[in-house]
Amino acid sequence: MSRFEIYSPEGLRVDGRRWNELRSFNCSINTHPNAADGSSYLEQGNNKIITLVTGPQEPASRSQVNTKQASLSVTINLTKFAKMERSKSSHKNERRTLEWQTSLVRTFEKNLMLHLYPRTSIDVQVHVLQLDGGILGAMLNGITLALIDAGIAMYDFVSGVSVGLYDTTPLLDLNSLEENAMSSVTIGTVGKSEKLSLLLVEDKVPLDRLESVMAIGIAGTHRIRDLMDKELRKHGKTRVENLTN
């Protein structure tokens, strides 16, 4: 028995949001200009992540050279202090982390113009400082921002969010309490389209409910895309101002 009402009959969630509300979303780019070619800091609720992109650069070893396109790698560093309880392991070789890395690489391989950078490697590092549910979606957003900051050509924004299904109500952008209580879907959308480049269903979701879940998820990712776009434009503006001054 859960200690909480996950979704009350009055339509409020455990943290006070309604079914279709995102958590507070803050982001900034070029946060680590000296450490990497592109960087971003992102807060999606209590998820806090730093993303660093280096590249395009010469691959570390010859064996990694791909003559057709750039090779993309993603490393996730789930810090030991990211969860409520300090974890003993570094989560580095956990199955879950490895799976996330693979899904992220696959998603971005389709959305980056990698053929423009043959014989190079692009390395993405994600540092998760704090974890509170729906981390994969947050990582998608963080990586998108950092890649843009690094100036790597891409077709459009990729924005991600998780959606859960509580009984018959889809709930947008789950926190960790909610994530543990219901089955959820993570969606990665390309730009303002309804094209999905990531769809991860880790538990059972009934087929007849999936449509409503995806609909609210896509609406959520579009909203996130707008928030990221706004931040980018603001950042661009200050940068241009700094240059002209």
């Binding site: 028995m1 200690r3 909480f4 009402e5 009350s8 009959p9 009055e10 339509g11 409020l12 943290d15 006070g16 949001r17 309604r18 079914w19 279709n20 509300e21 958590r23 507070s24 609720g45 209590n46 409520m84 309880e85 509170d132 018959t168 109500t169 889809p170 926190n175 309490l177 059972k204 009934p206 087929l207 007849d208 409910r209």
Partner: protein, 1015 residues
């Protein structure tokens, strides 16, 4: 929990602010900091109909519904309020937890605001009470009671931060006061006052300081216009005992009378502290289990513990230490010197300490019964206790002495509402004011309850409902309060309601929400004439998947007068010589769709309950007796199982389909039998029925060959006078061939369906199993058989059991076989519903029917299991997608647990009803009947009278004039005594005796019982 931090709030969009909830909790010795986001909003409405601000801020939910404004525009007026007399009430958590009955009362508490923080606390303290208060909020549109939940924690106006040095409880109290304050300000212009009801004095003082209206529960009740009738319903809490009852401590009335300075000498041992219990359970010196009080002796309980083969005994009032039947208790073993055999004495609470005075809890006059408790003084280390546990296990294996234990803590109370009556001896007829009286409960495993009431005189000779509040250690009897009056004792209505309440059967009429789910056509609903008609298909697209079986010669066979016809049958010879046999079951799931209010009502009722004079339906009448019922001569939807059987009743093929049928005739068992026996009838329908009968006999034989049991229970039927509806005759149920005809095909259908749904849903299929009985259950019976008759029952397999039961014949006593079967039935395990994921395939076995897999499919009108099975079968054959709730293990687990409980309760209620009516029949005709001794105690014998199916205890006092000289021969299971005529007699178990039966009204309990006297 002690860390506080002032937190910033950040505005993220219009009307939404985010803050963080930070607290430190200890977990496994370490500290853990928990940070959670917390969103505050401005769109949380007050939900008062009079408010003209809130309707502008509300937003719809996921399905586009707007919140409903519930609180009345002109609520009840309250005398003695300084400002507006019309008022809403805000309650705190303790009021809900202690007085939920009062809140549910339809004569007070009309407009109530439950702050979210209160609801959360209630949820954490007691989930059942949480569901009750939630139900009140949900059903509050009916306009009698208007309860709402106000999410104060999420409203920007009412959220309060925890300040430095403030405890969580203080902060929560302040949050409630803030809510009251907000409401008061919000509704001030509308002249509605908000009354804060709390029994916490400090909270009340704080509230008064900040200018709010705060009352204690009794103060509030006193202000009501109908306070006279409500006052008795206020919970009776122990005034100032060691327990943390800070409420009522300033209530002069509550504290005055009973604790008046006198310190009670009687005292139960204190419960251990939580930490000691946790520690003890971890290191193996304490054990937890649920306690079962013996139905023959209310001072003897047993606790089944996983480590022990046999249950551990708990003897005596002090060792039982205030536990109720069914409580989850923590026990500690007693030293070996105090281990005992289960008592062979019978004691019931109604005859025990009849003369106790409810006003004093003083003198300790029963030395012998509490004597065992003296052992608690011995000091033992944990190590000793573990050694003790080992020898306890050994002792259980070797001899009759059983380890005894005492209760040292109660993890969970099983308290609910109980039905009982006031003991006349405890009422002072002179006094007209409030007095303490005893209430004897219907359940004889429970002690009497002390209540305070001013209605004692009016309530004499009435069945009343009471609720238990607490049992402090210095009180010999638990304290409770009066809830409701059911009516005169022995009036059919009161007795029926009492037994429904006692067995937790929901008998209130269906709510409007449930009835709204029924087809709007009502009784005029008709199955479509042509199921290929495009217009009909557009209304119901699933119609295309239905088959038209209206040409088949289908008939139903049921008990006479049956109106809810679940099943119908047909048989037809195929050209290849095989038989096409169809079982057609009412298609209830066509009307009861998952997720509707109708479905959840059916799920929670779980089963229909059949009483002698009344039927409590699981589904509304319209469905049960009309639209679903497979009545003759009309088109009905059905779910059909069609087999091809060869002449030896082997299944060649099976098919499942939804269908439309038209039953040709509804037979009673007797009429069907006559039709089959009537050789002049040669029409096709009769031919089909004859074929069914032949096939069913073969099926039965096959089943018996496989080892199916043929057990017996003393089932009787009460005939009612059709005019006066007084019971006037008792009859033992007769079995005809046609009974078993229907039964065999239902079994076959259930088995076929079970296989199919298990195949489709290996994790969640709804099934029914019957575990083999553990040999220990049969130990006593076998020993008795061995000693008295030289027979034995084999338990190797169900086949062996069935055969050995057949061998238990005594040429001199043809009834012995049935008697042994009845007694064996009581040793069996109960069959249970489960979902396929809960057990492995080998454990699916149904022992009694000797099949490997089984379910219930054939009575969806009266059992919820069948409804689930129908949906799963529909999913398995691709008729419609199976609802999520039947594909989820957890949800199936909850469904199974509930229907198992309901099923059991329904059986008990049915039996209790028969028992009551048999008592009424005997009231009019006293007689001498043949009975059989089924159990012997050292102070009495238990006798079963097959003719009436009643069982009664004959006490030694009624057997002989000098009970001291009677001798209990334990190893021969007999009692030797000198009977009333001065002749020496020995009565043993299985003996046939002549008994005089009469029905007597017990003066102490006013319960009518069969009294048996040995001739």
């Amino acid at each position: 929990m002690a860390s506080v931090q002032q937190l910033r709030r950040k505005r993220i969009s219009d009307g939404l602010t985010v803050t963080q909830k930070v607290f430190v909790r200890s977990r496994n010795g370490g500290a853990q900091k928990v940070v959670r986001e917390h969103y505050l909003r401005k769109d949380i409405p007050c939900l008062s109909r009079i408010c003209d601000v809130c309707p502008n801020v509300i937003v719809p939910n996921a399905v586009g519904e707007l919140p409903k404004f519930v609180l009345a525009a002109s609520p009840q007026e309250l005398e003695g309020l300084s400002a507006g007399k019309r008022h809403y009430v805000v309650v705190d958590a303790n009021i809900i937890l202690q007085s939920i009955d009062l809140l549910e009362n339809p004569h007070c508490f009309f407009d109530v605001i439950v702050p979210q923080i209160v609801l959360d606390e209630v949820r954490n303290k007691s989930y059942p009470i949480y569901t009750r208060i939630r139900a009140l909020c949900r059903d509050s549109e009916d306009d009698v009671k208007r309860f709402i939940v106000f999410h104060n924690e999420f409203s920007e106006y009412t959220f309060v931060d925890r300040t430095v040095q403030e405890s969580i409880n203080d902060r929560n109290d302040r949050a409630i006061r803030r809510t009251v304050e907000w409401y008061a300000g919000h509704l001030k212009a509308k002249e509605i006052s908000v009354v804060f009801v709390t029994n916490d004095r400090l909270n009340r003082q704080e509230a008064l300081k900040s200018g709010l209206v705060a009352k204690s529960l009794s103060e509030y009740v006193d202000m009501l216009p109908n306070s006279e009738e409500i006052r008795d319903l206020i919970p009776n809490l122990a005034p100032s005992s060691g327990m943390s009852n800070k409420m009522l401590q300033d209530d002069p009335e509550g504290a005055g009378a009973s604790s008046g300075g006198k310190i009670a000498e009687f005292c139960f041992p204190e419960y251990y502290s939580t930490s000691r219990i946790m520690g003890g359970m971890k290191n193996g010196s304490l054990y937890q289990g649920s306690i079962q009080i013996s139905e023959y002796n209310f001072l003897e309980g047993t606790v089944s513990l996983p480590n022990f083969k046999k249950p551990v005994l708990v003897l005596g009032q002090k060792n039982l230490n205030r536990s109720f039947n069914g409580d989850l208790v923590v026990v500690e073993l007693l030293p070996q010197a105090e281990w005992k055999a289960p008592s062979t004495v019978t004691i019931d609470s109604e005859h025990f300490n009849v003369n106790d005075n409810p006003d004093n809890d003083g003198e300790d006059d029963d030395g012998e019964l509490s004597g065992v408790a003296s052992g608690s003084a011995t000091i033992m280390s944990d190590k000793d206790r573990r050694l003790l546990a080992q020898s306890a296990i050994q002792a259980q294996q070797s001899n009759k002495v059983q380890p005894t234990a005492r209760v040292v803590g109660i993890t969970r109370r099983s308290w609910r509402q109980y039905v009982g009556q006031i003991t006349p001896t405890s009422v002072d007829p002179q006094s007209s004011g409030t007095q303490n009286v005893f209430v004897i409960l219907m359940d004889k495993c429970l002690p009497k309850i002390r209540i305070r009431t001013r209605l004692a005189k009016q309530l004499l000779n009435k069945r009343i409902v009471i609720s238990v509040d607490c049992w402090p250690e210095n009180y010999r009897y638990p304290l409770g309060h009066f809830v409701r009056d059911l009516g005169e004792i022995e009036s059919a209505q009161a007795e029926t309601e009492a037994l429904l309440l006692e067995h937790d059967v929901e008998y209130r009429p269906f709510s409007k929400k449930v009835l709204d789910c029924l087809p709007s056509e009502g009784h005029n609903w008709k199955a479509p004439v042509d199921i290929t008609d495009a217009e009909e298909i557009s209304k119901d697209p699933l119609l295309t998947n239905r088959k038209d079986f209206r040409d088949k010669l289908i008939c139903s066979i049921d008990p006479p007068g049956c109106v809810d016809i679940d099943d119908a049958l047909h048989a037809k010879q195929l050209p290849n010589g095989n038989w096409e046999v169809g079982v057609h079951i009412a298609d209830v799931t066509h009307f009861v769709k998952p997720g509707t209010a109708l479905d959840s009502e059916g799920a929670s009722r779980g089963t229909s309950v059949y009483l002698v004079d009344k039927r409590i339906d699981m589904l509304p009448m319209l469905l049960g007796t009309d639209l679903c019922s497979l009545k003759p001569y009309v088109d009905r939807f059905a779910f059909s199982v069609i087999w091809e059987l060869d002449n030896n009743a082997h299944i060649v093929a099976v098919d499942f389909t939804k269908s439309v049928i038209r039953s040709r005739e509804a037979f009673s068992y007797e009429k069907a039998q006559n039709r089959i026996d009537d050789e002049t009838a040669t029409d096709e329908l009769t031919q089909g029925m004859r074929a069914l009968l032949q096939l069913s006999k073969k099926l039965k034989q096959k089943r018996l060959d496989a080892g199916a049991l043929n057990l017996a229970s003393p089932e009787v039927k009460v005939h009612m006078d059709s005019e006066t509806s007084d019971p006037n005759e008792v009859e033992i149920k007769k079995l005809l061939d046609t009974n078993s005809l229907v039964e065999e095909f239902m079994l076959l259908a259930n088995i076929s369906v079970a296989r199919k749904i298990y195949d489709a849903f290996p994790q969640t299929a709804m099934l029914r199993r019957h575990a083999p009985p553990p040999s220990t259950n049969f130990e006593l019976l076998n020993e008795m058989l061995q000693v008295k008759k030289g027979m034995s029952i084999s338990l190797e397999s169900s086949k062996a059991l069935a055969d050995s039961l057949d061998r238990c014949e005594d040429p001199n006593d043809p009834y012995l076989n049935t008697l042994v079967r009845i007694m064996s039935t009581r040793c069996m395990m109960a069959a249970q519903y489960f979902h396929a994921g809960a057990f492995s395939y080998v454990d699916f076995r149904h022992y009694g029917l000797a099949v490997d897999i089984y379910t219930h499919f054939t009575s969806p009108i009266r059992r919820y299991c069948d409804v689930v099975a129908h949906r799963q079968l529909a999913g398995a054959i691709g008729y419609e997608a199976l609802d999520l709730s039947h594909r989820d293990k957890q949800k199936m687990e909850m469904i199974c647990r509930n229907i198992n409980k309901r099923h059991r309760n329904a059986q008990f209620a049915g039996r209790a009803s028969i028992e009551y009516y048999v008592g009424q029949v005997m009231r009019n005709n006293e007689s001498t009947e043949t009975g059989y001794v089924i159990k012997v105690f050292n102070n009495g014998i238990a006798v079963l009278v097959p003719k009436f199916g009643v069982e009664g205890l004959i006490r030694l006092e009624n057997l002989t004039e000098n009970p001291q000289n009677a001798e209990f021969v334990e190893d021969k299971f007999s009692l030797r005594f000198v009977d009333m005529n001065g002749q020496s007699r020995e009565v043993g178990v299985f003996d046939k005796v002549e008994v005089q039966l009469k029905s007597v009204l017990d003066p102490a309990t006013s319960k009518r019982k069969a009294q048996l006297l040995l001739k």
